[in-house]
Amino acid sequence: MSWRSNASLANLQAGARLRRAIRQWMDAEQILEVCTPVLSRYATTDPHVHSVVTTTGHFLHTSPEFAMKRLLAVHAESDTATAPDLYQLAPVFRAEESGRFHNSEFTLLEWYRLGMNHLDLMRDVERLLKHLWKAFFLPWPGICVCRYGVAIHERLGLWPEQLSVEAIEHYFERAQKPFPNAMGQDLDAALDLFMDEFVLPDFSSQSFTILTDYPVSQAALARLGEDVDGRQIAQRFEVYFGQVELANGFHELKDGDTQRQRFENDLVRRRELDEPIVPMDERFLEALAAGLPDCAGIALGLERLHMVLGKHDHIDQVLSFNHARA
């Protein structure tokens, strides 16, 4: 058992510098810093994100998204002209996540931009990252864009929604890569593994890649729309550095009924997967009903960004104390 810290002093100093540089950019952009509760009576319904439950029956939040969107709705209700963009550096908690790039407790930098869509937000992230690379005296590594459906189509000859688990399994077999026995008929899970095994390794290892235009089945809290070829997609993107996933951005869904339907679908899926049935955030749904302004929002993993900046290969190197030593 060790009482000592995981991160070196140099890495703790770099972490402080990173947070300072972020706040500097947010201030310059006039984005308001907020703090929202870590404990909530509601939980995320996402079937693959596991909340930590407390003895009081509350859940530790897995992202500050619901509370921040409630604030956006409140401000828009009173005066749209003066409503500020919002950001937060929030500790978040996800049970059962542990590994080289995962710690059960980590920090999300989450921010919302009023009037932006996902395409505007991509440029916004790029501007923040450029500012940070400059603050660390690093040359800008560049950024490219990869479309989810196109990446799948190039390799499998079909669009994501036309695929079956069997077709993906067959591809794994031909490539002599292991495919889990327990995949069942979970097409999205099979797509996740396909991306990880065959698409991400082709991303440039020393620069950023934005993966965008997700399949409709993976829309989560993003709006649906059309890509440049007129195919229906989710207006959602993720930012990678090499193969490391850094951020997840949405053109935020405003329609409360659709959102409720997606939560309910999540709960059905949870029941199938034998995952706990959690209470969906009714206050968030009420806020959507009252009216969320047009906006785009993104969550960025702070520790992973620190890892990339410092070329660290394990998240423990940037954590004062990892989950095992907490």
Binding site: D46, P178, A182, D192
Partner: protein
């Protein structure tokens, strides 16, 4: 058998092994009743969140040992555990990927220190120095370790369901040279080597100054000469 306090360990009674006393031929009916009490030994299952290097699991009917494992999860997607596993019967290392939450049966594999006794040509016999229990390992289990097996050498014997699966010789052994070319006296500097035949049949490269009948120390992992034993 499996780590305490783990959230996803499942002890399922329908997967339990049942042991019934065999020695009941001459027993009176009442005693027979008593002797027929069954003992439930639960088979443990491991969830993917318990995976770690060295864990012994059953895959495709063979015992495997986890060499390495990595947690893979897209922010909004399904989590997987990617592993490299060694088949303990064949020694082959393969990749396997599991969906998070999947559980696999533990393999009843354990490493125990045993003393080598003798070989009858077909089997190599070992004894547990604490219980004096004896076991015989066949050629497949012993493998190349037979080259280093000397009387009373303490070996690591890997048992699967109580039977020897693999034998690992001690890291260092001391053996007497049975046969080698005559030594070049005084030549301790040129660094040349010559083959030397050991009593067990092993052939080790030794420095030129080593003589027949001398005792030497050998690293069994590389099969290399370490030093002269005086």
């Amino acid at each position: 058998m499996c780590s305490a306090g783990a959230a996803r360990v499942r002890h399922e009674s329908n997967e339990s092994a049942t042991i019934v006393s065999q020695d009941s031929y001459n027993a009176a009916p009442a005693a027979l009743e008593r002797r027929h009490q069954t003992i439930e030994i639960p088979m443990a299952n491991y969830g993917t969140n318990e995976f770690k290097g060295g864990l012994k699991i059953m895959l495709d009917g063979d015992p495997h040992s986890i060499v390495s494992n990595e947690f893979v999860k897209p922010g909004k997607g399904q989590a997987f555990t990617r592993t490299r596993v060694r088949n303990l019967k064949t020694g082959r290392v393969v990749e396997r990927t599991f969906k998070s939450g999947e559980s696999v049966e533990s393999a009843d594999v354990m490493d125990t220190s045993m003393q080598y006794l003798y070989s009858d040509g077909e089997y190599w016999h070992f004894m547990n120095p604490e219980t004096f229990e004896q076991l015989a390992a066949d050629k497949t289990a012993v493998g190349d370790a037979h080259l280093w097996l000397m009387d009373e050498a303490v070996c690591e014997v890997t048992l699967y369901n109580g039977q020897p699966l693999a034998v690992t010789a001690p890291n260092f052994v001391e053996m007497t040279i049975k046969e080698t070319d005559p030594g070049l006296r005084g030549d301790t500097a040129t660094g040349g080597t010559k083959p030397a035949h050991m009593e067990t049949g092993a052939v080790v490269k030794v420095p030129l100054f080593i003589e027949e009948g001398e005792k030497i120390k050998i690293d069994t992992r590389s099969g290399e000469y370490v030093s002269r034993v005086k």
